[in-house]
Symmetry: C2
Subunit: 131 residues, 2 copies
DNA sequence: ATAAGGGTTCTAGTTACCGGAAGGTCAAGG
DNA sequence: CCTTGACCTTCCGGTAACTAGAACCCTTAT
């Protein structure tokens, strides 16, 4: 398969596939005489794996780790679970942070009448003029 | 005030202050004969503003917009509120996305026994071998 | 033979800075 | 007077994960 077909099938752009190759996340595939990359079904499967993991918010470095565990028949599932639990903690933290910001902004926005008059509690708060 | 004092007082690093100047988020301050930047109380206040807005997740571009509204005595509060509401929508979206990811990962992690055995529903899912 | 639609490599840009190097300046102390 | 240490200056390179675009080659169909 050419890179374009693989891109269409996996939803990973050709640009990204080449990028993943350049950083050694995926191995360099065979080439045709003209220099076109040729991908196997196995390569496609790995790109599906990457797409799924990236979609769940894992960094490329984490995906590399997960991939190497995936390719190691003898890995301990505890290692995989550890990575996922770490990610879950990050997510919880991020959600908490965003909720706090949301509450603040919600309060400020609700107190701003939002018409054509200039006075604005939001800017007052940012400027340290609150209360 | 020297840049270091300003940094200490505002919590914005000297590096960041110079960076903000380089992208014209803040004006270039006076210099001493030796070339040291000298900041006024007004400059400090603006950096506080920036710090607060950045802390609430606004991009530097958004902060620039907010700052210019702040400095415009005749702005309509609706404009400020619009920016904040847009940010609130982004936050809501992001939270929703993170919660969805969290649910997925939680389920997968719970189904993985996480011991020294190799079989792992998490990797199976990533590889498209689910069910 | 040519045109459309692949593919190739390379460079540069994105965001919001941080780290570090090389060197000038300032205030205090011996 | 000189040194020491803590400042300050500019500039270069790096970060994450790509994307955009240029310049060029290959394949396939008409």
């Amino acid at each position: 398969m050419n890179i374009g077909e693989v891109a269409a099938e996996t939803g990973v752009t050709a640009k990204s596939i080449r990028y993943y190759e350049s950083i050694n996340l995926i191995p360099a595939p065979e080439r045709t005489d003209a220099g076109y990359r040729q991908y196997s079904d196995r390569d496609v499967q790995i790109l599906h794996f990457i797409k799924r993991a990236r979609g769940l918010g894992f960094s490329v470095a984490e995906v590399a780790e997960l991939l190497s565990l995936y390719q190691d028949r003898d890995r301990a599932s505890a290692e995989v679970k550890g990575i996922v639990e770490a990610r879950l903690n990050e997510i919880d933290q991020k959600i908490t942070e965003l909720e706090s910001i949301r509450a603040t902004l919600r309060t400020l926005a609700d107190r701003c009448h939002g018409d054509d008059r200039p006075d604005c509690p939001i800017l007052d708060d940012f400027a340290g003029l609150s209360n």
